[in-house]
């Protein structure tokens, strides 16, 4: 995890990390069609940290699954690192996911019958990394996340926050180009949320491209950019910065009386 430093975001379209054109995905249930993703265009540059917000049912998770190849779009194109990926067969997607994409979900991120250490090493072994190297990287990551003493525990013995941190370690072990996270703090209390957020920020500082879905404003505000998804369409796409007047204090929200 030692990259030289955040690389400047490139503007040339061929060098975007992720490019999406006119993505459509619909679900048919009981005769009615509901649009999960409607003609979405998106571009994420290398090193960007993007958050996707929106009411539930707006299609945020579906979009993330489409970008990670876990689901197939009905139409549209996806380019990952300059390569067209939306028409890849499932097995090629799986190979792509091993090296280039890290996934963190809201629940049950870990394989239930393997220890935390095995869980973290799994993508590395899959990608063909020699076992010794995989083990070294795993130890490095777990130590950095403060979980070295829990390496031999099964997921059932870990708390929610610990599980998410292990999941994060697993997602990062192959130094993926893109980290996709679906409500990674959704089931955590505020302290664990803070810890996971801190980790994500640190990854971002080292140049990791992150795309995460959240309904938590605090998580979203950590990102560089927030995309609002509403009814399957992008309603807003803007950068996050500190308030102009040097504000952003409690007084902007709450006035203490008395």
């Amino acid at each position: 995890m030692s990259r030289p430093g955040p690389s400047p975001a490139s503007t040339a379209p061929e060098q975007a990390m992720l490019q999406v054109k006119d993505l459509v995905k619909a679900y048919r249930a009981d005769g009615a069609t509901s649009w999960a993703v409607r003609h979405v265009d998106l571009r994420v540059d290398r090193g960007e940290f993007v958050a996707i917000m929106g009411p539930s049912g707006a299609g945020k998770s579906t979009l993330l699954h489409l970008l990670g190849g876990l689901d197939r779009p009905d139409s549209g194109q996806i380019w990952l690192d300059g390569r067209r990926v939306d028409d890849l067969p499932e097995s090629r997607w799986a190979v792509l996911r091993r090296r280039s994409i890290g996934f963190v979900f809201q629940f049950s991120n870990l394989v239930s019958n393997m220890t935390a250490a095995d869980n973290v090493e799994l993508p590395a072994l899959l990608a063909g990394t020699p076992p010794r190297q995989a083990r070294e990287r795993r130890e490095e990551l777990l130590t950095e996340l403060g979980l070295e003493h829990k390496a031999r525990s099964t997921p059932a013995a870990l708390s929610g926050g610990e599980q998410q941190r292990v999941a994060l370690a697993r997602a990062l072990i192959n130094e993926p180009s893109l980290l996709l996270a679906d409500e990674p703090t959704g089931s955590l209390d505020s302290r664990n949320t803070r810890d996971v957020l801190r980790l994500l920020s640190r990854c971002h500082e080292r140049g990791q491209t992150i795309l995460l879905v959240t309904h938590d404003a605090r998580v979203a505000s950590t990102a560089d950019r927030v995309i609002s998804l509403f009814d399957g369409e992008i309603a807003d796409d803007s950068a996050v910065s500190l308030p102009a007047n040097g504000g952003g204090t409690v007084a902007d929200v709450v006035q203490l009386k008395g």
Binding site: H65, L70, E90, F105, F107, V111, P123
Partner: protein, 767 residues
């Protein structure tokens, strides 16, 4: 690859119990398949060995004395000729036993074709004028060994003391007493002394063919060449072999059929367990896909895992069979020992193992393919459509039935398709157990109701030294004898003249013998006959047709009016009234009397009484009951029931596991609602027990039907005749079913208790 292995080891470690059960089931199946294989192989082996070593003759013909047998050597396909040898019928007397013995005159040199294989003692010696070499099965049943003295009585009644010079194996005829008369070799001079009248002797010729498959054709040609009225008996190597190996072959076939079906049932169980594992791990599989496993990798993973378990089970089973097999009681132990001595037994072992692995791999293919198709999106489980409580359930609650019962019933049949599949899978072992019980009941039927399977006469009395009139007087006076039917057995050539069948005159038209009729009706006229299935097959006729047979040179035209069940002689028996066999000298003398005893009379008591009353001039024997020889089948049935019970247990464990998984959320909700843990456990146990009950009922019902069909089919095929099948007694079926349901309840209690003890919050939060 490493990732795959890592996951597989973790998975096996997490499901140790299930894996062990699968290995056990596979091992047991393998053992039974190997034993069946050994028995089947052994079935052909003793004959094969003997025939090969003795340079056996494929075809034996008995012809009248004086017939020129030279044309036989010139027949197409004949490689060598044994004989012709003069033969004479005689009786061997040994203590109180008098048994028929055919003496064959063979020169002092050992014959080249069909050479007797000396087991003990030595061959005929010209210096010993009264020497005889006995065939080994005959010698064994007579307790005669080399060096003993035996008394042989000729047709004229004169007795001769003979010395048993040796005991030899031969492939000329079947084992005594299945095949009578027994065989003994003597010097021509000895034969001349015992039977001085040439007209009482016969000739026997053996033909060794170049191609064994042409035996029937050659037989036909031989009879034609010599003239059908000159040939009294024809026997082929197939008849000899089947006679020698009757018991083992039946046993082996039974085992093989059941073993194969058990393998199928085990494959189903494995498939079920694998499928249920896939369902249980849907989350994990989705995660693996998200991490980067390709669907093909997932499919391979499942296949390897289950195939590996199967291989372990097969290796264990093979080791157990090879090590413990020879130590089992015979015939299994004997068969295993022989089989292991065969050069190609390793090949057969390998073939069995590979076959079993392939079957299990095939069974796992579908669940493995489904594992590959699990969607990568880790969805929260879709809610089942909520159904309001049915009218039945509401009624039950109104009647104040315990809530556990009502909820359990509702749970069990909530998803009809799933419930149906579970019931089907549980019903199959039950079905097979019922068939096994049916076999047992059939054997019991042989024992308890012999008259229903053609064995109405418990005793057979042979007059020796008294005439027919005094014999029948003695018999009718004997207490305990309900009826005595005179009988005579002759060999007859069938149309097509390729072989001979036995024509039995038994009873008279006025007092017909109570044959066990499966079809048609009994004999009511002098030209009517009932035939066994084997005879019908051999003559290629059906009930209602007319046949022409030759008995002792006299053609007879008979109308087959019924099919009887004939457990002897492979069912190749045509039965007529004594009048039908009337010849130029009148009615034939009865060779024996079939005695039907009064109910409650003791066979041994009646026998003793008759022997005393007739001063040993009546030779009284118990009729052989095939059930006695098939005693080993009972052991096989027990073994099979055990195997099937194991398979059923495996299926139960799978069904319980998947049932629990389906309802674990409901359980938590129930507990949160206020049901005590014990009540919740009761719900699960009720649900499993109900499913098992339905499965037991279905399996038993279908099993009774199938058992009937199968056993009758087997009877038809073996010539005994369809109609022997007995239904398993209701009490046994009820007991088996009850045990199954109780076991199901017990199996489900432990995991149910464990599931309900899990914290409510953790269970709910999982979803």
């Amino acid at each position: 690859m490493r990732a795959v292995l890592r996951w597989e080891f973790a998975d096996l470690r997490a499901h140790r119990g299930q894996a062990a059960l699968m290995v056990l089931v596979t091992a047991v199946i393998t053992v039974s398949l190997i034993l069946a294989n050994a028995l089947l192989q052994n079935a052909g082996n003793p004959w094969q060995r003997t025939f090969g070593q003795s340079n056996g003759a494929h075809l034996w013909l008995h012809v009248r004395p004086g017939v020129d047998t030279a044309p036989l050597a010139r027949l197409d396909g004949v490689a060598a000729v044994a004989g012709p040898y003069r033969t004479a019928p005689s009786t061997l007397v040994r203590s109180a036993e008098k048994v028929p013995l055919e003496l064959r005159a063979v020169g002092p040199a050992l014959p080249k074709v069909s050479r007797p294989l000396m087991r003990s003692g030595r061959w005929l010696d010209p210096s010993v004028s009264n020497g005889v070499v006995l065939e080994s099965s005959f010698a064994r049943s007579m307790w005669a060994a080399a060096g003993d003295s035996v008394t042989v009585r000729g047709l004229d009644g004169a007795t001769h003391t003979m010395r048993v010079l040796g005991v030899a194996d031969t492939a000329d005829q079947g084992a005594y007493p299945n095949w009578t008369p027994g065989l003994g070799w003597v010097l021509p001079s000895t034969l001349g002394r015992i039977e001085p009248d040439p007209s009482h002797t016969a000739q026997t010729v053996g033909l060794r063919l170049r191609d064994p498959a042409t035996t029937d054709f050659t037989a036909q040609q031989a009879v034609t060449a010599l003239g059908s009225d000159q040939v009294t008996m024809v026997s082929t190597w197939q008849q000899v072999r089947s006679s020698m190996n009757l018991d083992n072959r039946l046993l082996g076939l039974l085992l093989a059929v059941f073993g194969l079906v058990a393998l199928l049932a085990a494959a189903l169980a494995v498939a079920g367990a694998a499928g249920s594992r896939v369902l249980a791990q849907v989350r994990d599989i989705a995660m693996l896909k998200a991490v980067g496993f390709t669907p093909a990798q997932l499919v391979r993973m499942f296949l390897y895992e289950h195939s590996a378990l199967a291989v372990v089970g097969i290796v264990l089973g093979t080791a157990a069979a090879s090590g413990i097999g020879p130590l089992l009681p015979s015939p299994l132990g004997e068969a295993m020992t022989f089989w292991q001595a065969q050069p190609d037994h390793l090949g057969a072992l390998l073939a069995t193992g590979v076959g079993a692995v392939l079957t299990i791999a095939l069974a796992t293919a579908l669940p493995a393919w489904r594992a590959g198709r699990v969607p990568a999106v880790p969805t929260v489980r879709a809610d089942r459509p909520v159904r309001r409580m049915s009218l039945l359930a509401r009624l039950a609650l109104l009647l104040r039935l315990p809530p556990a019962l009502v909820l359990g019933a509702r749970d069990a049949f909530y998803r009809p398709l799933r419930a149906g599949l579970t019931i089907a899978r549980l019903a199959i072992p039950m079905l097979m157990i019922t068939v096994a019980l049916g076999s047992w009941a059939t054997l019991d039927g042989f024992r308890d109701h012999p008259e229903r399977v053609g064995l109405a006469a418990t005793l057979t009395a042979k007059p020796s030294g008294i005439d027919a009139a005094s014999a029948s007087r003695l018999l009718s006076r004997q207490a305990g004898v309900a009826a005595a039917y005179p009988g005579v057995e002759l060999q007859a050539l069938v149309p097509g003249q390729t072989t001979t069948i036995t024509v039995r005159g038994l009873g008279t038209v006025a007092r017909p013998y109570p044959f066990a009729l499966a079809e048609g009706r009994g004999i009511q006229d002098t030209d009517e006959a009932v035939a066994g299935q084997g005879a019908l097959d051999q003559m290629h006729v059906k009930v209602g047709q007319w046949v022409r047979v030759m008995t002792g040179g006299t053609p007879r035209i008979l109308h087959i009016v019924g099919r009887s069940i004939e457990p002897d002689h492979n069912g190749e028996m045509l039965s007529v009234g004594m009048e039908a066999l009337e010849g130029p000298v009148g009615l034939p003398q009865p060779q024996y009397y079939a005695l039907v005893l009064r109910p409650g009379a003791s066979p041994s008591g009646v026998r003793a009484g008759l022997l005393a009353a007739s001063h040993n001039q009546l030779d009284v024997q118990l009729t052989t009951n095939p059930a006695d020889q098939l005693g080993a089948v009972r052991g096989v049935v027990i073994g099979l029931v055990v195997v099937l019970a194991l398979i059923g247990l495996a299926e139960l464990v799978t069904a319980t596991g998947s049932g629990l998984r389906d309802h674990i959320r409901d359980l938590a909700v129930l507990r949160a609602m206020g049901l005590t843990p014990r009540q919740v456990t009761a719900v699960i146990v009720t649900s499993t027990s109900l499913l098992t009950t339905v499965a037991v009922l279905a399996g038993t019902a279908v099993g009774v039907l199938v058992s009937d069909r199968l056993i009758n089919l087997q009877g038809h095929a073996s010539g005994v005749g369809a109609g022997i099948a007995q239904m398993p007694p209701l009490g046994t079926l009820l007991l088996a079913g009850t045990i199954a349901v109780v076991v199901a309840a017990c199996v489900s209690v432990v995991p149910a208790a464990r599931a309900t003890r899990a914290r409510v919050t953790t269970a709910l939060s999982q979803f």
